[in-house]
Symmetry: C2
Subunit: 445 residues, 2 copies
């Protein structure tokens, strides 16, 4: 029983700093986050929290900054098992010479399950609490993510041709809708449509996907305008740019997540803004494959919501959204020739609230606010190299912090404590990753 | 006494992988590096080393890759005490509104000593064994670096006006030459001329520096063509681009280190190539200040030696040369629209042998070869997020590894063992950094 006037909460986090994202550009010092069930019940000064709450568990995080769990809005998690397998090659060579042959030979449900677990381990260790995934065997991926307790959107892939996962669009869509039904009441997993790219799927299929996603009120994620070549070839083939073609099929709408969007003209940006479609910026993958630079300044000025993704570890090579945030901020500045472009706080928005918004989850995720789900990350700022700290937001965005993530909660449940997993078996994941690479390279060690 | 046919060495490092940099693009597996005194005495397969050498100390590094100690070819180490003090501002605003006023008020010999120790701690933890520094009170900086046991070049600053360190060019040069004499027999410290930039020092002074540096056979380091504004203003004022003006003063030569070099036309590149001057690329600082992108592909094609620097932690915010290498590789690809630009191995050359070459030290540093100084770094590749490892060079360049540096030797002497300092007092450095920031912000905590 609490004393009169006191309230019981499950978990009270007492932090040196809290950056809630909403309200904007705010850094609270000596603050508390109270969690009850799977929700944030209060955010207030430490002294007030100690007067007001009796907590089942109280955690002192006196060197730490608390931020909302990060939303990695685009990736192919299982491809972590292909990390570093091919480098220094442009997208089409990298796909045709290395990635697609490797996938054809090795990818199956077990590969996906093991690869996704490896990816989740890396994402939790670097502060991601929700990720979007587009890959074969999404049912195996969803199994891995549900058992880890992390939040995820699986955009099941749809292509015009057969792959290791299925025979063609009808097959992909029927398997995907089955999965959608299976997870429609899940609090952790949501299923979306994942038409691969304008160059791998015909307009007629896209119209069908537009219709189905409208019926189901499901999100759609697609690679769009990743390379200049893609845009040029589409214009040559269809007479219109891919984004206009998507507009014509009805796919551009507030449930649409356009990944990459490196090559945009003023009309493309206007189409995205008009339809309230989302862009998922994947700067490091775009750099490594020399695809281009997503014009975040122009998009933001037009009012387009920009989320952030790592893409797969095969073209990055990491799934570190904190690092991606830094790259996004640095790159936006040089791209706009303006050091004030994408300032630290806006970079953090990309990785949190904007990601939640792209996934249609902004009412429950993306900021630390009472009533939202308790997806919270603690970052330990005590490392010598981070000193002195004039402004924790600057260190958070412009320093490398992924190895300093100490705790991660998803819906109030601890998935990482002092960098130890609560739901994953690190040793087993490591052993399976090594076994896969030995099999793939034909080595035994 | 060794057995007949066996040789005594001081230290035998048995590593899973060795990337020697010379020979190029080579990854040795199950290899050994033997160290005698301050030099590398042998590099050979593990089995051969165990047959041939009796070692005073043998170290098993069976999850590790050994690389040459990294050379951070440009920075202002003491400014680590200003880390994150101002963000999201272009160079001239950042200097005039924030950095120069703060320097005027706070920088003295004690500040520099404490700041340099903080910087050295971060650099050792991320694998740098040799750094170049350009800042006030270089005598205090040299004291800190010598006592830490790290290798360094101090380019004493020369400007046309008075600063906290001196009254003007004559004063700076006389103090600098005194320092040069003091360290001319040092194995760890070398002193260079540091004319600040074409816009802060008159051509007549540059001619004098060209003459003096020729006499002393000393290196010269200078910020050159950092921003478009700098180039434009110089053309307006002097009728020539800064690099041509340097050429005319005799400063472009194989002892010249041109830092930044973001804005280069074909003539500039030809001048650099013709004179065998060096370029120090600082990609992250150039991004953060929106200065521009150094055209590394064009420079490399012209045969210009390109080294790598972090610049100061005030415009980066870190001194992590491993991370800088990754940024350099990623940025070169998108800048050249070619995913094959600056491949992983060349990025590693920038951070090692090219840096040694820029500092005139390529005969003794920059690669793991018998007869070179034993500046060696071990990176522990066992972290789950780095698995699986198809190609350690890919992980080394494209993954974030600074927190995985386990051991650092400079001239055969261990400065870092299992991430513990052997020559630095981490707690005292941390406390002094906090004390400085409290003083600067007027906070007591």
């Amino acid at each position: 029983m609490p004393e009169p006037g006191r309230q019981i909460v499950d978990l009270l986090l007492l932090a040196r700093w809290v950056i809630p994202v909403i309200p904007a550009s705010t850094v609270y010092e000596d603050y508390a986050v109270a969690i009850t069930g799977d929700e944030i019940s209060a955010i207030c000064p430490r002294s007030e929290a100690l007067q007001r709450y009796d907590a089942v568990v109280t955690l002192e995080l006196d060197q730490h900054v608390l931020i909302p769990g990060l939303v990695n809005a685009h990736g192919h998690a299982a491809m972590s098992l292909f990390k570093g397998i091919a480098n220094d090659k442009p997208l089409q060579q990298w796909l045709h010479q290395d990635i697609w042959p490797a996938e054809q030979r090795w990818v199956n449900a077990e590969f996906v399950h093991d690869g996704v677990e490896l990816a989740i381990a890396e994402m939790l260790l670097s502060g991601t609490t929700c990720f979007s995934d587009m890959y074969f065997f999404p049912e195996a991926a969803a199994r891995a993510s549900r058992s880890a307790g992390i939040r995820a959107q699986f955009a099941f892939p749809i292509l015009d041709f057969a792959t290791v996962w299925g025979s063609g669009p009808d097959h992909y869509i029927s398997m995907g809708i089955e999965l959608f039904d299976q997870y429609k009441n899940s609090s952790l997993v949501q299923i979306a449509f994942g038409p691969h790219a304008p160059y791998t799927i015909a307009p007629a299929q896209l119209e069908r996907i537009a219709m189905l996603s409208e019926e189901l009120q499901a999100c759609v994620q697609m690679h769009v305008h990743e390379t200049a070549q893609e845009v040029d070839e589409a214009v040559a083939r269809h007479g219109v740019r891919p984004l206009r073609m998507l507009y014509n099929t009805g796919l551009l709408n507030p449930r649409m997540q356009c990944v990459h969007a490196c090559h945009l003209n003023a009309d493309d940006i206007a189409d995205l803004a008009l339809t309230a479609s989302h862009v998922v910026h994947c700067p490091e993958s775009n750099l490594k494959l020399a695809s281009g630079i997503c014009p975040v300044t122009g998009l933001a000025q037009a009012g387009v919501n920009i989320a952030l993704g790592t893409d797969s570890a095969a073209s990055n090579n990491d799934l570190d959204l904190l690092g991606e945030m830094r790259t996004a901020a640095l790159l936006a500045k040089v791209d706009a020739s303006d050091a004030a472009a994408l300032p630290a706080f806006q970079a953090l928005e990309l990785a949190t609230i904007n990601g939640a918004r792209a996934l249609g989850l902004e009412d429950s995720l993306g900021s630390l606010e009472p009533g939202k789900l308790a997806d919270v990350v603690a970052v330990d700022m005590s490392a010598l190299r981070l000193q002195p700290i004039y402004n924790p937001l600057s260190q958070l965005v412009f320093n490398q912090l992924s190895d300093r993530v100490s705790h991660v909660w998803v819906g109030g449940k601890a998935l990482l404590e002092e960098r130890r997993f609560k739901t994953l078996d690190a040793e087993s994941i490591h052993a399976r990753a090594t076994a896969w690479s030995n099999k793939i390279t034909g080595v035994s060690r």
